[in-house]
Symmetry: C2
Subunit: 704 residues, 2 copies
């Protein structure tokens, strides 16, 4: 909840240093730039209170950036810094979008938006809580529950979603819960209350008090006195196990990565890239290269949709777009040393804007560290007994967001074999609903996770935006499949043969995965062929298959989650086309995102390569287990991007071998060693003939 504008002295210092240098075109807006942009907007509205939703970098057009990137240092063209700003006239539905040239101090455009709503912010959420709980009507309803004295009632404002009925105005659906007075960190999700007030953002009034169905159908029954039963997740409420011994990660010579440009550029194991951060996407990775070769132009989580299975009012509107409706930057945790990460950790902090347009530095919103990831490769020559082993190292850029009840741990992970992954760990607390305690069997749209508490099934569908630059900007997408050779093909007399096919993605569109055909999507540069095997250089996408959005195609869930129906979308690059469900997801009706964009049907130049964007969807259908409550063990998903014929051999081959002199492992017990190795070889003499047959020699050495 970023709300403060009092920056500690040290941060001011860091920020001011940043301002003194020439900013990289991808540098997030500085504190000064945020202040300048918001100030220019405020000047337009003397005496009028504004509610800022976003003051963020307007990234340069790609064509401009291409010129900039290829120009030599010192000869770079100047690119004006620009801000993208969204704001409301406070306490009105009037919302505006503007782009400001910070170099000239002028507005490039300023538009009043119609039929669109912007995201949440921390102050708005708190205000909704206040309005809801202070409302006399709500208080009268709460009183009917006859809660015990000292019970604390809490309102979790939920984004309103959409069903096309009376949802033109921006509203919040508040879900009510209780906790005991003596525990501020009490888990209120164990005690949901069947009252759900709706608050209008502009008027700041409760406009409706929904009653929640508490049975297995949609009947609303009379209130029953609610007797809270606690189910706490905090350690002081547990009998903690005492037999888990500490495990420390020590890097005696320091880390292997190197920052430059005030922490915005990172170099590690031949990888080089820029780190950005913004209100909406949180972490953004720019200009990824490996050993001097371009790989990706821009990588970010584009959006996510979390639709719920429960069809009953008001749950039928329960679908969150956590990035579009709130913002992965806005919700980023302040990561704490020794709590969120293990090892030697660097933290990055970036400013975003609060609701007043004031800069707020999101401290430690990204942590950077290395981790060991087991063996990278091994081969033991059975003839000599000699082994070659290298260990995989990963560089992790992690950001954790809290979306009210839920947590997502996001990480870009680079490794020593030229591979790059995006990892999501889902954790936090299930969003719960009240259920009559006498109901003992779970309804088929949810799981009972605590007496009187239903955790409804829901999907988490993520969209990772990949703007590739595989050896340059001319790229294409193909998918490869493996097929059995025809049984009557004379080339396949024993029926054992199979082969691969390649299908080019020729026009913009969405595509399904097909594990039964081993379908693999690859991003290639058709003009750069591997020198050894003549295949186009490329990276393949390995993403876990997932169940697509289950909501009906005529539902608002479906219309709004424009990316959630396909595994991969491919579009022609367009400036600022960044968010798969559209720029404004809050109470959206669809039609502004990727499903709309691909209707353009742009044909790609697959011969020369084209400037494309690849959107990779992945997710889980979360059928809650009781083990997910009161806080959920992580469920982990990883999307891998791996080189395919991009290099001319294993790029990890030059990793130093895994040796005890470096690894300093500790032996718990040792037995002897009587493995035996051996083989036989034929040696060729001067005439090309076999001169001798003898045993292989070798000492059975590991690389100590």
């Amino acid at each position: 909840m970023p709300a403060s504008n009092s920056l500690p002295a040290r941060v001011e210092q860091v920020i001011n240093i940043k301002a003194e240098r020439i900013l990289h075109p991808f540098s997030p807006l500085t504190v000064q730039e945020i202040t300048q942009a918001a100030g220019l907007v405020k000047n337009e509205y003397p005496g009028v209170e504004l509610n800022f939703k976003c003051v963020t970098l307007r990234e340069p057009e790609k064509e401009v950036m291409k010129e900039w990137l290829k120009a030599e240092e010192g000869l770079k063209p100047q690119i004006d810094r620009k801000a993208f700003v969204v704001y409301y006239i406070a306490r009105t539905p009037d919302i505006f979008e503007t782009v400001i040239n910070l170099g000239t101090g002028t507005f490039e455009y300023k538009t009043k938006l119609e039929g669109l709503h912007s995201c949440a912010d921390g102050e708005e959420v708190m205000e909704m809580e206040r309005v809801c709980l202070a409302d006399e009507g709500v208080q009268a309803e709460i009183a009917k529950l006859q809660l015990p004295e000292g019970t604390i009632v809490i309102a979790d404002p939920w984004i309103y979603g959409s069903d096309g009925v009376d949802d033109e105005r921006k509203q919040w659906q508040c879900y009510l819960y209780s906790r005991s007075k003596d525990n501020a960190d009490g888990n209120h999700y164990a005690n949901p209350i069947p009252i759900s007030p709706v608050v209008d953002v502009a008027t700041r009034k409760v406009v409706r008090i929904d009653r929640l169905p508490t049975g297995i159908d949609d009947t609303i029954t009379d209130y029953k006195p609610h007797k809270p039963i606690l189910n706490e997740y905090t350690p002081e409420h547990q009998k903690l196990r005492t037999d888990l011994k500490p495990l420390n990660i020590i890097q005696p010579e320091g880390v292997s990565f190197r920052f430059s440009k005030n922490g915005e550029e990172l170099e590690w194991q031949k990888w080089k890239f820029r780190v950005g951060f913004n209100h909406r996407e949180g972490m953004v990775i720019y200009n990824v290269s490996y050993d001097g070769r371009d790989v990706f132009y821009r990588l970010s989580l584009s959006d996510m949709a979390i639709p719920y299975a429960d069809p009953r009012k008001p749950y039928h509107r329960k679908q969150a777009f956590d990035l579009g409706d709130a913002g992965a930057g806005l919700m980023a945790n302040n990561l704490k040393l020794g709590c969120d990460c293990l090892g030697t950790i660097a933290y990055l902090s970036f400013p975003i804007a609060d609701d007043k347009g004031e800069p707020v530095v999101m401290e430690n919103c990204i942590c950077v560290h290395e981790q060991d990831a087991g063996i990278q490769f091994k081969h033991m020559n059975y003839r000599t007994g000699n082994s070659v082993i290298s260990r995989m190292r990963e560089l992790v850029l992690q950001s954790i967001i809290t979306v009210a009840n839920y947590e997502y741990i996001f990480a870009f992970i680079f490794n020593t074999a030229g591979e790059l992954s995006y990892e999501v760990r889902a954790t936090g607390i299930l969003s719960t609903a009240p259920l009559d305690p006498e109901i003992k069997d779970c309804p088929n749209f949810g799981t009972i996770v605590h007496p009187g508490v239903l955790a409804q099934h829901h999907q988490h569908i993520f969209s990772l935006r990949i703007d590739p630059a595989i050896d340059g900007f001319g790229n294409k997408v193909i998918y490869e499949e493996a097929k059995p050779m025809e049984r009557d093909d004379p080339f396949n007399p024993f029926g054992t043969g199979y082969y691969i096919t390649e299908t080019k993605v020729e026009t913009e569109g969405g595509f399904l995965e097909s594990p039964e055909n081993n379908r693999v999507f690859k991003i290639q540069n058709p003009k750069h062929l591997n020198p050894v095997n003549n295949k186009p250089v490329g990276y393949k996408i390995q993403a876990p298959p997932f169940q697509k959005l289950l909501a009906s195609p005529d539902s608002y869930h479906f219309k709004r989650a424009e990316f959630a129906d396909k595994a991969v979308y491919v579009t022609k690059y367009k400036d600022w086309e960044l968010y798969a469900a559209g720029m404004y997801t809050n109470q959206s009706r669809g039609g502004h995102g990727i499903r709309e964009w691909v209707k353009r049907g742009t044909k790609f130049d697959t011969e020369e390569g084209d400037d494309i964007v690849v959107w990779v969807q992945f997710g889980i259908n979360h059928i809650p287990r009781i083990e997910d409550f009161p806080v959920m063990p992580v469920e982990t998903l990883r999307v891998h991007l791996k080189p395919v014929n991009f290099f001319d051999k294993n790029p990890a081959l030059d990793l130093p071998p895994s040796t005890q002199s470096i690894n300093k492992s500790v032996l718990l017990n040792v037995d002897g060693n009587n493995h035996k190795q051996g083989g036989v070889e034929a040696e060729i003499g001067g005439d090309g003939e076999v001169a001798a047959v003898h045993s292989s020699s070798g000492s059975g050495a590991c690389c100590q």
Copy 2:
């Protein structure tokens, strides 16, 4: 290559200690027992040389074990130790199988096998190399290649496979390669030679010299002089990177696991289980319980099939069953401290038998260690700013096998959330084939990975055998799917609802995965219901979907790989039904494995639960990249077994919080902290009415 029978003194000591105590019925055969069993067999054949293929524990019948397990310590029934022995009359095709009661010294049965072949052993492989390379005809063929002086020619004996043509006798197909003389660890797979002699095991003679096709079709062309081009994987041939800093794992208070029973029983974080090891499966895990509750009776990798895509003779027979044809125990690496593992490591050693029936201790064939696995759960209360974070710890039992060119890193991984995984990392060197160097474009059944070298596509399909005991032996399998609610269902007016269905596995059979329906297989105990939600307690299986065997159903590849066509097989438990492709896979013709067994069509008792076995298949279709050569970065697969309504809340909840005082992370740089937290609450007064609305309080503490 286990071949020695001279045990170091310390090992003798360990083994003798073992022999002095009463052995657990699942204890692998001791050195003395192996000696006794082989001796009893040898006594039957005075003056006759025998070739032992396996002298291993014959596990007790499950019904016997059930009695034993439930009897109290001190009152356990005595169970005679038994050995299962397979042997040949040396240099003949005559193969026998016997079970010997070691308590009574008597043969339970002894059978001459017909039409079956046993596995490889280290001595046999070396003998095949010798026969092949010493053969005059082979040497004459090699001479025609006019290899440079000092070239070393190597023969990789490959199991012969099967095509139903002249393969009644046990044979080996030798693939030839070359390396330079001055490098005993030279990568010969970079220089395949188009000559492939076939050796008869019984006669020890080359029976045929196959010529390999080197074009893109099956034509055999004249020899061309072969000019080796090196492509080495050993570190001394690389310019090693120097910027990867050491990363050490320190456990200052030691490990959290505890061995008992001479290393065969392990306790860690409420898990308790037994470790076994045998010639064929390598690691076996028995009697897994969590917090005193039974979970699994027996877990092991059952087998694997690696069929190749190239349909041309002799490659059409190239399909390995690395467990059945050779043995994961036989091929287990001697793991080295600081090379194969990081942290504080315990190593286990177990004896197996060599070809003479002599015991060989496989030193350090399993390593046991803990690893950090990132955050286990996190929640940050946005109202107080307080976070609760615990880190996941994993206990890893790792074994690495070398199958000539290829390595598999196998691991059973237990975690702190009651989850158990089986991980496979594929690495090592691709099995390569010669290709005319003038061919520049890859044929569609392989990838050129080096000039003149083709790596043929191949599948790796694994079968994990799960013998469950979820709260006892009465278990069943169901699969759950998520389905959209009918659009015209009045309960689903907005089209957003979805629900889950459950399908019981009522009879023995094989089943496909179905990610598009979110199909999840669960093993449940129908008589044990979760006390909170009335669902049967269970564990779910999360395995990555994979492409099934591509070979035609009428091919020998298909007939032999009896498990490779389904994601999950479920059978009624039968004693010693352990290997999915049958007991004898070498040159098998099918009909002895799981596809045959399920034809029994045994009906399960899904009301009371039944004694079932679940076979989980997973794999990769390996379309080689050039990056996989000359040694392959790991490709990782994990099968997860996760509790579903087995506990009554998150079983990791009692993990100690992640704190800096324990983790001792190191800060690389620090900025200040001005995140702000906050929320609003309503407090209930004595009359059940809202008495006050106030701000939430909290300090934003992490659990330091």
